[in-house]
Amino acid sequence: MKASTVSQRIESEGKIMSNTSAVLEMPEQSFAGLETRGVHAWFGNHHALSDVSLQFPARTVTGLIGPSGCGKSTFLRLLNRMHEFIPSAAMAGEVLLHGQDIYGEGVDAAAIRLKVGMVFQKPNPFPAMTIRENVVSGLKLAHIKIDNEDDLVENCLSRAGLWKEVKDRLNASGGSLSGGQQQRLCIARSLAVEPEVLLMDEPCSALDPGSTLRIEETIKELAEKITVVIVTHNMQQASRVSDYCAFFLSDGGPGALVEADQTRKMFTNPNDSRTADYVQGKFG
């Protein structure tokens, strides 16, 4: 399927099914998922990321780990074309979604971002909106019309593990929630547009341990239906939530992928000695 028709598909369907089984019934090949081939990133003349080729298996959690400045957040933002909002940014290589280069000519970036959602470091519900409005804000932004908004709100909030806590105050301001609840609201907001991949940029770094645990549970549940890519500073978190891990490192030059494998192997018996040193906390 051509990526440029993704938005047309959404509009022609006219609605997003609130019943998530619709996603499961999609043909298996549409979950060929996300893959990068020889991706580089620059900010001005600064070469930030070099030659990353990585596949994200469908319905898994992949953790991107590595010390500060290794380019893992840059890499994440390349995956849904958020990289290009930095004025001097440039890139090379290919990012394939279902085999289609998302940087190809004529590809609608907004349609890509609908398929590859993103949750940010700090919880950021839209301040002028209620909880309910926050959840459906993505549909408004993307001009998607749905028949049964109530079901969608309940479904998304349930998947984000927030429904029980807020079902009686959906019209309260999103800002009235606690930090952890706000972040789960942001997850619910991203789920409402039915992404196939969800990118998370250190989603727990601004939260307390209790909230972090709740979010980690949510992430594991999400991975039953969608693909999750999570950047984290916290190696314990990576070992708790991820199925696969990718270790990034910069030796002063551009950040590069050192090693990627199953999480258990990465933490017990990595191929590269630098990975072993990092996961054992010898540096970083």
Partner: protein
């Protein structure tokens, strides 16, 4: 065994002699400024009170402003038409300024290329430094031709609406044209406040809109405009304060006439600051006091507007 509660020890800052002298000098300087500015306020208030006790509310509502030259005939001072005219011209100015400033600020902040953005920001600063005299000069010599054409267009098409109605076919030097000139004068102020506020929109909120598949306009509507709402209101109020007190730009363009008029396309209007500029030359002591009182009323209006504006602006640009 009980533990005795700790004893609080007072801590004082003791200034040395040098520091005392230094603090004295600085305080004296600040107090002098305070006294000078306070004196102006008190002076205006005193003269204003004098006029109000003499003429009462008629000073505000009265329509006649005549200083008698012959003894036995009482002076009559009523600034009503001028006050109404000032407000009308300012409202016209604001009607144009607000949408243009919002658009200008959004354009600079979100649409312009980095290099264009830099140039426009510098231009904005420069424009705010143009003396109002030059706006007046441009207004009467250059803009009036264009403004007249717009006014006649409005008058011909929408003349059935009372405020667009005209008796004469003379559209130049009308409140409409003066309001347009005033608008171009306050646009730099309101635009730079709006731009400042918009630029403080958290980047992550905008990114979120894009990450949800939104367009640029979607991000602006969802995040930027709600975020900058009160800042824009504050900026507009700052502009309004400037518009109310502006003298030469209006004086040069507007045809001053002592009559209540709401026909904004007609070539006559009122303006308190221009009244002062016109009358002070041949004014008697008594009329001078009345002019000062009129100045005081103007001052109170701009003061009120400015206070509200700066309260809003400081509240929104803090953090």
């Amino acid at each position: 065994m009980t533990i005795a509660p700790p004893i609080k020890r007072e801590m004082h800052v003791v200034h040395s002699r040098g520091d005392k002298v230094f603090r004295g000098i600085v305080t004296a300087g600040a107090m002098t400024s305070l006294i000078i500015l306070g004196l102006i306020g008190a002076f205006l208030f005193g003269r204003g009170a004098q006029v109000f006790s003499q003429y009462g509310l008629k000073f505000i509502t009265g329509t006649n402003w005549s200083a008698s030259t012959e003894p036995g005939i009482a002076n009559e001072f009523g600034m009503g038409p001028m006050l109404v005219g000032t407000i009308i011209v300012s409202i016209i100015a604001l009607t144009f300024t607000v949408p243009m400033s919002i658009a200008g600020a959004l354009f600079i902040e979100f649409y312009a290329q980095p290099r264009v953005k830099k140039i426009l920001t510098a231009l904005l600063d420069l424009a705010a430094a143009i003396p109002s005299l030059i706006f007046g000069l441009w207004g009467i010599q250059v803009f009036t031709n264009i403004g007249q054409r717009w006014a006649s267009l409005l008058g011909n098409r929408l003349g059935f609406i009372p405020i667009f109605n005209t008796i004469s076919d003379n559209y130049g030097r009308s409140p409409f044209v003066a309001g347009c000139v005033l608008a171009s004068l306050i646009v730099p102020i309101t635009t730079s406040v709006a731009r400042e506020v918009y630029s403080r929109t958290p980047r992550e909120l905008i990114d979120t809109c894009y990450a949800l598949g939104g367009t640029k306009w979607g991000a602006i509507k969802t995040v930027v405009l709600p975020f900058g709402k009160s800042g824009v209101v504050g900026g507009a109020m700052l502009g309004l304060g400037r518009a109310l007190g502006e003298t030469v730009a209006v004086y040069l363009v507007l045809n001053l006439n002592f009559r209540y008029t709401f026909k904004i396309l007609e070539s006559e209007g009122g303006n308190v600051a221009s009244l002062i500029a016109t009358r002070f030359g041949e004014a008697s002591t008594e009329e001078l006091t009345a002019l000062i009182a009129a100045g005081f009323v103007l001052f109170l209006m701009t003061l009120g507007v400015n206070m509200i504006a700066s309260a809003i602006v400081t509240r929104t640009t803090r953090t």
